[in-house]
């Protein structure tokens, strides 16, 4: 946390997240109930299944100024909708390839399997992703050369 604060003034990445109602959204709730702390730059959209997340949602978020997009679903095999997260992860890998062609670093979209019991994993994912995005710097969809590390 402290480390994050030190550099926060330089650049705070904006993250839009999509989490499934049954696992990762619940994990985010658990993180709250357990008073785990993470950077306030993540805003979640609740969907019923990570498989509901259309690539267009991710692109829309980037278009509107998000520096990163987070998607969270149940662990493989644990999907509330049998295999929705398999579809989501397949789509995610395709999307990463597509982003590259748009000049957006594929690391700006992140998928994590986080169960309803893993508040800690959720917190860690948000922290890690924030750090990663800070290194990447603000989204500049031209060549993807903008690095916050310089």
């Amino acid at each position: 946390m402290r480390g994050w604060k030190l550099v926060a003034e330089e650049f705070t990445p904006k993250i839009i997240g999509f989490t499934c109602n049954w696992c990762t959204y619940a994990a985010a709730d658990l993180a709250g109930t357990s008073r785990m702390q993470y950077p306030p730059n993540l805003r979640l959209v609740r969907v019923m299944c990570s498989g509901r997340v259309s690539p267009e949602f991710v692109l829309k978020a980037f278009q509107l100024g998000a520096d990163g997009v987070f998607i969270g679903g149940c662990h493989l095999g644990d999907c509330h909708y049998i295999h929705g997260n398999f579809k989501a992860i397949t789509r995610y890998y395709l999307l990463k390839k597509m982003l590259q062609q748009f000049g957006i670093e594929p690391e700006r979209v992140r998928f994590n399997f986080i169960s309803a019991a893993e508040g800690e994993a959720f917190t860690q994912a948000v922290k890690d992703f924030t750090e990663q995005l800070k290194r990447l710097g603000p989204l500049r969809p031209s060549g993807g050369e903008g690095s916050g590390e310089a």
Partner: protein
């Protein structure tokens, strides 16, 4: 309420005592909110979920003619149902309600940054407003429920659930893959901690099942296909041919007496023999005999038919075929129980290699009066009565690397019971239990532990690392560290009993696919919530109980089975169920009939229908649709809309979240 009416949104921001108000500047959020489009009323209150809080919402709906309500408070997973009901009570369609999660996902996780938390709370409220403006009134669907139940598994769990439902007046189909119901409990001799004879307490229940007018007993049957949804499951059951007419067979047993073929008995775990025509155990229900086709001389060599010749009831049917039974049921209970961990996977204990190393369940058969030895505890190698018996705990249990990570829960008590039985049947025998921890947590369990300690049973804390046999005597030498004394020791016993772990059924993956339910990391079937919905699954209308859900003892199994029956009785007695209307529908004009949605739907809820020649359109069966939205994300023409999570609604949320 008309959909085209201008949205008039009321926003209610909760302090949650100081939970929210202690971090987020609520007044600032109210000010911000009241300036947003379509908001006609915005206020805050200490506890929105309290009675006065809900009254405030209801009054405001009427006073300000609100047609949308947004509450910014805790997680919708917590209070969405509460507030939906509040709206409904004020005459507003409950699906015109949206929640902003500013507690769990805002103030509680950003406690040190009140300003940023306030900003985030504004964004979250704005997103809820954006979605709320686009909400449409929805009506829950209602389905009729077939008032009958399918229970898979005829062990004590299935038996208890079947009797409870049958006694409540519902018809029950009890499916068991073995020729008799009874399950593992029928194989046990005594039950801890009361030492009730297992058969004495189980068989009356088995008989009740067999003659209950509301129970159709389907033994030697397996569920093959399951289609449909709560209230309307269509099930295909395979009835395996037993080559004996169930109605004609009186169970006299003459056939088994005359049958010349002897094979190891599955029920006695290979310690005793049975004939090729048999009942698994004397109290089998039904008493109908079964021909084991693999071993029957007539089926293997085409000669014999001795059973047919001697059967006084003329019940033998060599021409019987497998058949498929189709059932329609309202609910399904999965009571399929457990398998035992294969101790051969841990070669250091010599199970399968040394004859005098047996499992706890094998011990149950040895000590049982109707077992292969007539209840005499003898060594498999030489038939002698052992003068010393060792019980080794946690074989496979609590062993992430070679077995399973969990505790199997019943083995400590089972071994203590076995230890007591050895003392009772072989006076003066040396009995020793080697344990990691003794877990005697149930009612009367700790007292039982004290009792067996008083009987002179030695309890040694330490995990046996290796067993090897003295080939001359068949005795077994155990090497271990006594972790209380800190000493490495080696001792000799005449018989060793392994307390093997309880593991998921080998058939569990197939059943998972059949029922479309989930299993946990341990492989056991998963309940909908570990604490609050312990006998439901994620699939409405499918319930679980007993060891199918995880290892447990008989009292817990019976309690859970009754609980599953009680839960299952809710839709059965109502005769109807209501389902969330958050389902998908097809915009026919946009649909090109490509079929992507049909292929992606996990519930087979979408079907392509020919609307005119050469023109196909997708159609959603809303009774089957669970509202995951996979189809909506996959449809290339945006022809599928998921109610409550439509593309415009989600896009508006993304937009709002990005703007603050």
């Amino acid at each position: 309420m008309s959909e085209k009416e201008e949205p008039r949104i009321g926003v209610f921001i909760c302090h949650c005592g100081t939970n929210i108000a202690g971090v987020v500047d609520v007044k600032q959020v109210v000010d911000f909110t009241s300036k947003q489009p379509n908001v006609v009323f915005a206020t805050d209150y200490t506890y929105m979920c309290s009675d006065p809080g809900q009254a405030l919402i209801k009054d405001s709906i009427k006073e300000h003619k609100l047609n949308r309500v947004v509450v910014a408070a805790c997680s919708p997973r917590m209070h969405e149902p509460t507030f939906r009901k509040t709206c409904q009570e004020a005459g507003l369609n409950p699906y015109l309600f949206e929640m902003a999660n500013i507690r769990e996902q805002c103030c509680w996780v950003h406690m040190g940054e009140p300003e940023k938390a306030t900003e985030k709370a504004k964004a979250l409220v704005k997103a809820a407003l954006a979605k709320a403006s686009l909400l449409e009134p929805l009506t829950p669907m209602e389905f009729n429920v077939e008032r009958s139940a399918l229970i898979i598994g005829g062990g004590i769990a299935g038996i208890q659930a079947a009797l409870d439902l049958a006694n409540a007046g519902f018809h029950v189909y009890l499916v068991e893959k073995e020729p008799s119901i009874g399950g593992h409990m029928a194989q046990l001799d005594k039950t801890f901690p009361t030492l009730d004879c297992s058969a004495c307490i189980l068989t009356p229940k088995m008989v009740d099942v067999g003659r209950h007018p509301n129970i159709t007993l389907l033994t030697y049957c397996e569920a093959q296909e399951v289609e449909g949804f709560i209230g309307n499951f269509k099930v295909k059951i395979l009835r395996k041919a037993r080559y004996v007419d169930e109605k004609a067979c009186t169970g006299c047993g003459v056939c088994a007496q005359k049958c010349p073929v002897k094979v190891p008995s599955e029920f006695d775990l290979g310690l005793g023999m049975r004939k090729a025509i048999y009942i698994p155990f004397p109290q089998s229900v039904p008493i109908t005999h079964t021909i084991d086709k693999e071993n029957c001389l007539y089926f293997t060599r085409g000669v014999c038919k001795v059973c047919e010749k001697f059967c006084p009831a003329k019940a033998i049917r060599f021409d019987q075929q497998d058949e498929t039974i189709e059932l329609k049921v309202g609910i399904i209970i999965n009571a399929t129980g457990y398998d035992l961990f294969n101790a051969k996977k841990l070669p250091q204990y010599g199970y399968g290699k040394y004859k005098n190393v047996i499992t706890g369940l094998e011990f149950e058969r040895l000590v049982n009066a109707s077992g292969p030895t007539g209840g005499k505890i003898v060594r498999p190698s030489d038939g002698k009565t052992p003068k010393s018996v060792a019980f080794i705990q946690c074989i496979g249990s609590r062993d992430e690397h070679h077995g399973v990570p969990y505790c199997s829960r019943i083995c400590c008590m089972a071994s203590l019971k076995h230890a007591h039985q050895v003392k009772e049947k072989i006076p003066g025998a040396e009995v020793c239990v080697f344990y990691i921890d003794l877990r005697c947590f149930g009612k009367g369990y700790e007292e039982f532990l004290v009792r067996v300690q008083d009987e002179g049973i030695r309890l040694v804390r330490g995990k046996v690392s290796e067993i090897y046999e003295n080939p001359e005597t068949g005795n077994l030498r155990l090497r271990l560290e006594d972790t209380l004394l800190g000493e490495v020791m080696e001792t000799e016993f005449e018989l060793v009993v392994l307390a093997v772990a309880l593991v998921p059924r080998a058939e569990a993956p197939a059943l998972q696919t059949l029922l479309k339910v989930s299993r946990g990391a341990d492989g056991f079937f998963l309940e909908a919530h570990p604490k609050l919905r312990p006998v439901e699954t994620h699939i409405p209308g499918i319930f679980i109980c007993g060891c199918a859900q995880g290892p447990k003892d008989i009292p817990d199994t019976v309690a859970q089975a009754s609980a599953a029956a009680a839960q299952a009785a809710i839709p059965l007695s109502q005769g109807k169920v209501t389902a969330e209307p958050l389902t998908a529908y097809v915009l026919e004009d946009y649909c090109s009939g490509c079929g992507v949605c049909e292929a992606i739907c996990p519930y087979k809820a979408i079907e392509l229908k020919e609307v005119e020649e050469g023109k196909r359109r997708a159609e959603v069966n809303e009774a089957l649709c669970q509202g995951c939205g996979l189809c909506g994300a996959a449809c290339p023409s945006k022809a599928i809309v998921l109610r409550g999570f439509t593309e415009p609604q989600l896009m508006s949320q993304i937009e709002a979240l990005s703007s603050v």
